[in-house]
Structure formats: structure tokens, C-alpha cells
């Protein structure tokens, strides 16, 4: 069981190499809008998160993840 802020920090660390524009990361930062990630970047990032937590984030679930807060919730649920 990971605490929410710990999970947020770990994901923030995984986002960093993909955050080319140096956008400030908060719970409400969106991947498509704020970070301007294209589908290829999303795929690479998802693969990083999956490998780091040893989980699978299905495309069905990805469709519901719009911002960092959603991702924290999803990964917490998958790892709990």
C-alpha cells in the first residue's frame, strides 16, 4: 500500500524525461493538453510506468486517464 503523495512523486519522476517543455506537474496537469503528448509519447510513457510498477494499463483504462491525478488513482488501484 503506497500513500498518495508518494505515488504522485514516483509518477512525477517517470514523467520528467518526457516533460520536454518543463511544464509544472500537479494532479490536474493533463497529458494531451498541458504536456502536449502525442500518441507515440503516450505509448512510451505508459510502457515506462508499466515496467516500473510491473502492471498492465489497458487501452480501455488509458482512455479514462486524462490528467496526472487520474493516473495516480489508476496505478494505486492496480498495485493495491
Amino acid at each position: 500500500m503506497t500513500d498518495r503523495s508518494e505515488m504522485f512523486d514516483r509518477l512525477k519522476g517517470l514523467i520528467a524525461p518526457f516533460n520536454k517543455k518543463g511544464v509544472e506537474i500537479s494532479e490536474v496537469t493533463t497529458f494531451a493538453g498541458d504536456l502536449e503528448w502525442d500518441s507515440l509519447t503516450v505509448m512510451d510513457f505508459v510502457a515506462e510506468v508499466e515496467d516500473d510498477f510491473d502492471i498492465v494499463i489497458s487501452m480501455n483504462l488509458q482512455a479514462e486517464i486524462e490528467n496526472v491525478g487520474h493516473l495516480v488513482d489508476a496505478v494505486k488501484k492496480l498495485t493495491d
Binding site: 502525442d38 500518441s39 507515440l40 505509448m43 510502457a47 508499466e50 515496467d51 510491473d54 502492471i55 498492465v56 489497458s58 487501452m59 480501455n60
Partner: protein, 399 residues
């Protein structure tokens, strides 16, 4: 009123911007006359066809055309019905017999298009609680089949064996799994490492579906595709294919040895709720499939064409999708959409038609000029093609 079309505004603006630069619309070309599998008349100009997927040149085969004419006379213009009602004629059964023989498999099911074959089989066999594991660069028909069904969709990096293996290991051991692969990927013309991928999939208890649309008729000893070439066809549960490439007509199919396969005819909605192929189309297709079984000279010539074009384009300085010719598709990578469209038009003005492919159909946001060779292209035509690429490439400033 909220205009539902406003979601297309960005695309409309991009298209208008492109046309404003003076290029013709690459997506509204009309073939005014088709003279052979390799030559048509476009904008009043005789044009070599290098983007039709007509790999074996069967569209004008004498026997194929004769079979179609006879069926048109004897069975009429259309079936006006579903395969499961009034739409299965003698020709549909003969077409499925030809496929069973071609692939040496127990079951064959013919759909009205290749798109519907993927849509139908994938959406029907993987249901709620099952997993579909697919290559990220899969064809639109595979993605649409996933979207239509209720399974969980898991994508892995293109042709990455390790990425597939990791994901399979993370899925629940007792869940139903379908791994969806393609023999040849149509955008870059690259071949999948099916041998490794299928072994891993089977070890994980998954069923395997392979789309061999771009390999049928010329890859593998009997033209059964990349899985045959790599010696793993026996481990493939479902082969999906199309008639609109090597076979030279239109239609799609699935062949399988699954003992319960025939139930698909009752539960697969894109098979049930649409009209079946017209009699002439199935007659042409069955004749073509049977002729494709014995075609080694044509296959050898197609490979020679593909290798010559690949080497020639590389020597001219074009950037290509694969380091060597892996299939009959050669993808020429363009620096951006504007120059891609300009190059496409310059080629057309030089009497050469290729496919312009752009995102989102392409991987990694690439703009591609996709060339697909035909066994009926003569060596002189291939030399001509290279010459036209050189002239157009220099005019547009790509080489």
C-alpha cells in the same frame, strides 16, 4: 445548435492549407481508365501504378475474368442477402473450398471485405474479461474490432518480442487471451518476428490470430504468408486475409483449424448482418486463389522487382522504411506532409502513382510514399519508376 462537425475543423484547416500551396488533393484521384494491373490513365495521362497492392496482377487474368463473366450470366449481379439467409450461393462455397485447400486448413469463412473479417472475428471471439494483446502499429480494422468488442486491450511496442512477453506475463493466468499480429505491416512493409512471438504467446496460453493480408500469394513456400515462411503456421489459431490484394478482387476471410469454428457463422455480426459478395466476385476470387497455388515464377519476379526498387531508391538517397526489401511494400519516408504531398504530385505528373500515407494511419507521425510492387511490373517499368523518382525527388528537393 452545436455543430457536430466542429470536431473536424483542425483537419479541414490542414487540408485547405495544403491545397492552398498548389498541390492537387492526393485523396481524390480518379483512375479514368485501367489498362492493366500496372497501367492506368489519371488526369488524361498514362500512369504506372505503384500503389495498388495488386501484388500478383490477378485483376486482369484471363481465367479470373472468364469465371466472373460466367457467374454474372448464370447467377446474376448480386445476392441481395446475408450469408446465413439467402446470400450463400454455390460460388461462396467454392471460394471457401479454395481457401481451405490453399491454406490446408479445416475451416474457411468468407466475409464481404477484409476489414469486416478482422472486425468480426476479433470482436466476437474476445469478450468481456478476456484480453487482446496487439502490436501498437496494427491496422485500423484490428483496432476497430477491439473497439467493437468488450475485451481489455493491451498494446505493445511494434515488433518488440520482449514487450509482448512482459505484458503476457503480467496478465491473469486464467484469463482468455488473444494475441493479434500481422505478417507484413503495411505502412513500412516490415515483417514480424512471428516465430518468437507465437512461441511466447503459446507458452502464455494465448490464442493467436495473424493477419496475412500483405503476404498471401507470395511469401512462404505455398504463398500462405509469413507464418508459413517462419515455420509456425501450425501454431496460428486464426489466419485473416483479404481478396483485395494478391487475389485481385474484394472480400475477406478467416481460416482456422479450431474444432468449433463453424459456430462463428451464427454469432459473428459483421458476417451475419451484411449482404454477401456478388456471384461474379466470389467466382473471380475462387479462380484466382486456385491459380495462386501454382505461381512460383511470378513470385520470383515480384521479389526481384521489390529488391531492385529498394536498392535503386536507396542508392538515389531516399530514406526507406526497412534496411532491405522484406515484402512487396517499399515505404519512402518523407521529411513532412507538405513535401510529401509535393513529391506525390511531382511523381503523378511524371506518370507514376504511389500511395501517400500520413498520420494517424502511419507510425510515429511519419509521412510516407508507399510503393507496392506487382509481379506484372516489367524490369523496364521498374527502371522507369526509378528514373521518375529521381526526377521528382530532385525537383522537390528531397534528394
Amino acid at each position: 445548435m452545436n455543430d457536430l462537425f466542429s470536431k473536424f475543423d483542425a483537419l479541414i484547416a490542414q487540408r485547405e492549407g495544403l491545397l492552398a500551396t498548389g498541390v492537387k488533393d492526393p485523396f481524390s484521384l480518379v483512375m479514368e481508365e485501367v489498362k492493366s494491373p500496372t497501367v492506368a490513365v489519371c488526369n488524361g495521362k498514362e500512369t504506372i501504378l505503384l500503389g495498388t497492392y495488386n501484388y500478383m496482377g490477378m485483376t486482369f487474368d484471363d481465367d479470373v475474368i472468364a469465371a466472373g463473366k460466367q457467374a454474372l450470366d448464370e447467377f446474376g449481379a448480386g445476392t441481395t442477402g446475408s450469408r446465413v439467409l439467402n446470400g450463400t450461393f454455390q460460388g461462396h462455397k467454392e471460394c471457401e473450398d479454395a481457401l481451405r485447400e490453399f491454406y490446408d486448413m479445416k475451416h474457411a469463412m468468407v466475409f464481404s471485405t477484409g476489414y469486416q473479417a478482422n472486425l468480426g472475428i476479433i470482436s466476437t471471439i474476445a469478450g468481456k474479461g478476456d484480453y487482446i494483446i496487439l502490436d501498437i502499429d496494427s491496422h485500423a480494422s484490428i483496432y476497430d474490432g477491439c473497439k467493437m468488442g468488450d475485451a481489455e486491450i493491451v498494446a505493445f511496442r511494434h515488433n518488440d518480442v520482449e514487450a509482448l512477453e512482459k505484458r503476457l506475463k503480467r496478465l491473469p493466468a486464467d484469463a482468455g487471451k488473444l494475441v493479434v499480429l500481422e505478417g507484413v505491416y503495411s505502412m513500412l512493409g516490415d515483417v514480424a518476428p512471428l516465430k518468437e512471438m507465437i512461441r511466447i504467446s503459446k507458452e502464455a496460453g494465448a490464442m493467436v490470430l495473424v493477419d496475412e493480408a500483405h503476404s498471401m500469394g507470395f511469401i512462404g513456400e505455398n504463398g500462405r504468408g509469413v507464418a508459413e515462411e517462419q515455420g509456425v503456421l501450425d501454431d496460428v489459431d486464426f489466419v485473416i486475409g483479404t481478396f483485395s490484394k494478391s487475389v485481385g478482387t474484394v472480400g475477406g476471410f478467416c481460416v482456422s483449424n479450431h474444432p468449433k469454428f463453424e459456430i462463428m457463422r451464427l454469432v459473428c455480426r459483421p458476417y451475419v448482418f451484411t449482404a454477401s459478395l456478388p456471384p461474379a466476385v466470389v467466382a473471380c476470387s475462387a479462380t484466382s486463389i486456385r491459380k495462386l497455388m501454382h505461381n512460383s515464377n511470378k513470385r520470383a519476379h515480384l521479389w526481384e522487382n521489390s529488391k531492385t526498387l529498394h536498392k535503386g531508391l536507396r542508392d538515389l538517397g531516399f530514406q526507406l522504411g526497412t534496411p532491405e526489401a522484406q515484402s512487396a511494400i517499399i515505404a519512402v519516408i518523407m521529411p513532412d506532409l507538405e513535401r510529401g504531398a509535393a513529391m506525390w504530385q511531382a511523381l503523378l505528373e511524371n506518370g507514376l502513382y504511389v500511395n501517400l500515407a500520413r498520420p494517424p494511419a502511419t507510425p510515429a507521425g511519419m509521412t510516407l510514399l508507399r510503393c507496392s510492387l506487382c509481379a506484372e511490373h516489367t524490369s523496364d517499368q521498374v527502371a522507369d519508376i526509378l528514373d521518375r523518382f529521381e526526377r521528382a525527388g530532385k525537383a522537390v528537393g528531397i534528394i
